[in-house]
């Protein structure tokens, strides 16, 4: 069966090289499919964050995180479990859908017993010392339809999965500067509408980062990635997020997403 699929896809790809691009779904259509994908109202999960610098030194942090949508507003809270020195440090974010409204962020420092409001980050800022930007984290597996102009380039197989290769070019220089990207190329799975691989290009048009979405499994009927990898080609810095104990649970307590809960801890 698998072999058959490969043959069919291979044949299809072969045909595609002769066919005009209009026969592929448009970039906009693909974006709509991606954003229509269900990723649950609320989720709890453990995330192991591993950051590696160019010399191969690795920082490991284990966290427990919760995310919940309130309409199109998104609240996230992360509690650090290890290493010991940052245990109980907690980070809370409210992402607002309005473009002109700054997100709210708080960080609890147990050693100072203080919750500190952190300045709203720019979309292109890096998230907690990782190679993800705040925008990457905010979008999770979704894509932005207003920031990019998309066109479908071709089809390709990635690890045996059929994908559409979509080129997304930032709509303006200003947006590019804000995001830190001039162009993104995405390999979008045509079956489950998840991006399996993406290449990000910097403002000079040079390849900046490559991300991989791996170990995609269904959890409670929702396609969920259990491994995210980013390689920054410029700094040679790498980030790996490994997800475990993923549980979709719409009844996650709203109290978790408050300053008070940061102090209280898990």
């Amino acid at each position: 069966m698998k072999f058959g699929t490969t043959i069919i896809i291979g044949f299809f790809s072969f045909l595609a090289t002769f066919a005009s691009a209009s026969e592929l779904p448009s970039g906009e259509e693909i974006a709509k499919h991606i954003n229509a994908r269900d990723d649950g109202i609320a989720v709890s999960r453990n995330v192991l964050m591993e950051m590696t610098d160019k010399r191969g030194k690795t920082r490991k942090r284990e966290t427990r995180g919760f995310r919940k949508y309130y309409g199109s507003e998104k609240r996230t809270v992360i509690f650090y479990l290890t290493p010991r020195s940052v245990k109980d440090t907690a980070f809370l974010t409210y992402d607002y859908p309005e473009a002109n409204r700054d997100d709210d962020q708080w960080l609890y420092l147990p050693a100072a017993r203080k919750v500190r409001r952190i300045s709203a980050s720019d979309r292109g800022d890096y998230f907690l010392g990782t190679d993800f930007t705040y925008e990457d984290i905010k979008l999770e597996s979704k894509v932005s339809q207003q920031d990019y102009q998309r066109s479908t380039l071709r089809e390709e197989l990635i690890g045996g999965h059929h994908t559409y290769v979509v080129e997304a070019i930032t709509v303006s220089k200003a947006v590019a500067k804000e995001l830190g990207y001039s162009k993104v190329i995405q390999w979008v799975d045509s079956k489950i509408w998840m991006t399996r691989k993406a290449e990000f290009y910097d403002l000079r048009g040079k390849l900046l980062k490559t991300t991989f979405t791996k170990n995609i499994q269904q959890v409670q009927g929702i396609w969920t990635s259990h491994l995210l990898e980013v390689n920054n080609h410029n700094t040679k810095h790498k980030t790996r997020f490994t997800f475990s104990e993923v549980h979709y649970d719409d009844s996650i307590n709203d109290d978790l997403f408050t300053e008070r809960s940061l102090r209280r801890g898990l």
């Binding site: 650090y80 020195s85 940052v86 960080l107 050693a111 500190r116 300045s119 907690l128």
Partner: protein, 805 residues
Amino acid sequence: MKTNNAEKFFETITRWPKTVVLISLVMIIFCASFIPTLQKDTRSDAFMPPDHPALVYREKVKEIFGLNDPMVIAVVNNGETGVFNSQTLKLVQWLSDALLDIEAVDADRITSLATENDIVGTQDGMLVEPFFDPYPETQQTADNIRTAVMDFPLYMGSLVADDGKATLIVAELQAQNEAQAVYQKLLTLKEQAPVGPADEIYIAGEGAVSGYMGTYIDNDAKRLNPIAGLIITLMLLIAFRTLRGTLLPNLVVLGTVASALGMMAAFEIPFFIITNALPVVLIGIAVADSIHILSQYYEEAARHPLDSSRQITIRAMKQMWRPITLTSLTTMAGFFGLSLASVMPPMEYFGIFAMLGVAAAWLYSMTVVPAILSLLKLKPSKAFKPSQPIDWFGRRMSSMGAVVIHRPGWVLAVALLVALVGLVGASKMELNEERITIFHEDEDIVSADKVINSKFDGAHYLDIVIETDAEEGLFNPGHLQRIEALQNFVETLPHVNGSTSVVDYLKQMNRAINEDRSDAYQLPLSEELVAQYFLLYSASGNPSDFEQEVDYDYRLANVRIRLDSGRFNFEKEVVEAVEQYIHKHFNTPGIQANLSGRINVDYHWIKRLGESHFGSIGISLILVLLMASITLRSLVAGVITVVPVAFSVLIVYAVMGFANVWLAVGTSMFAAIAIGLGVDFAIHTVERLKVLVREQGKTIDEAIEALYPSTGRALLFNFAALAMGFSVLTTSEVVPLIRFGSLVAVAVTSAFIASLWVIPALIKVFNPRFLRHTSQSFQEQDVPLAAIPQPVTVVTQAQTKPVSE
């Protein structure tokens, strides 16, 4: 090569002159064909052996903290608001953005007000946000930026001048060998930049200095080397007044320079800054060989106007092959000594390829010169008339000889006195170096360096690398306090104006987290707090933000010290004081410190140079002594030969001492070059006297008298060619070239005078055995007879074996 063999050799050469010329031309072209592949290496680091511990350690540190010698752009505005007005700040933004478009600039390592973050505390939080947020459109926003920056101790003096009238844009390069190209691009940027009425832009920094140094010296050397060649050619015209006398030496020069540079290229040895001195040194040496051959050739031609061109050539070569071989061997010994004892790779290669160049000059003088001379129709030189064998120059030399014959004691006394004064001068010579002094004072880079070092803490960096023994060791508050104390100590040292480490960022964060209270500008007191501050910062910073201050697992830290001077003796004081402090007060189990950075490398480099310099000159002199003793077959003759050479070295040091010229990287090679160039005069003098006494049976007085108009005259032109050739370099704008030209001219002059006055005077006063003339000496054979050219047999042989023209 014995005399008979020598004769056979030159007969062979002159039998197939066209073949010899053809082979030589092919060889010259073959060598020259490599020259286009010569690689340039103008880095300062090229002067240190790549395996030197200081350099190795710095490379390691560079890899950990990513520290490079940066390009530094200063924007200065002496107006009322200083740089804090919207136009100047926009200029800073413009320049920072423009740097992004330069490929070789590391986009992540551009530091300016436009790229840096402010860390500031509020009532309930901490802000890490760019200073340029919002963008400085109005005077109000510019004023706010001023307030913010002035309240950030870390940036005062390092990024912004204390008076707010200047700010820096610091850019690191992806590869240091791009410095030259990037500096040129920055100069273009400076022209295009949208400057306000009171804005000034300066470009300096170690990256810029080393970037510009290469071009700066190369350009002038490229211009002046040919002029030196031209002047030397002019001297040849005066000496011989014939076309061949002028052009033939130039062919040898061509062959010599092509061989040396071609071989450098073939062996993939890069062209260093000091390699610029190689061509002119080789020109001087190559031309000297030809001058002696041609002088002999024209003397012979004047004496035997009826002989064939080939006979004359063979006779001249038979006279000259020995002294030329001897001078070549001793010069090679001198350069070999230089390369053997040198601590700097460029100097080592200079010695080796100068040596190979001398060998090439010898080879072409021995082959292509006689080949061409025998090919050409004999045309006597007007300078050598049969009726009046001694011309004006010869007569001047003779009067020089008269002084020696009549007052040898006086000559020696004066020489001794000069040597004593020389010793006084030499003792004043100081080991020192400052890279910026290479440039003429009117150069933009010099004024830029002044501005940056006076308005800011300084653009010369000493790095102190702190190593703790465990991961996250730097979270330990005790360790952090130790680093703080170290910084406090270092900042009390002269020429040190500031220092930066992770300690400063932690204090700033501690203040910000404590509602910006100024009394909270201190180190956090618990390990956890330090860890959490870093996490807090990472909520807005780049993953690589602290790359310059700490390594990734918080085990290593870098403290960067800023000095306002790159002068060795200032650096030395600081480095030694810091080293002492580290050993006495800093190093304890668990935490250690080591020095690194440009200043530390320079310190070791120059110190090493100072320690090894006199040893290396000594080795050169000893090798010359050995070579001269062996070839002249007498230790006394060797010593007498070395006296004028040592004298000229002493005079070079004396002039440096009196004129306040430092013994530095560039100047350290002058003494060695003085040996290489000066020894020729001495060898020619001693060898000629020996021939005159032992072979032609003259008394010492007769020999000295005969020495001056012939060999003396040739040496005079040899000397004039060298002295004038090197003097051309003094018209340069480039300080090192001026020094090189004038000091080598001084060396050559003193070697010339000492050879022609002191050597004959010594011989007359001490009457050494190797020159003692007894009737038995021919039979005694303490010197192998065959080694001595015997004119009598030469003539007979030349006559009995008629050569076919």
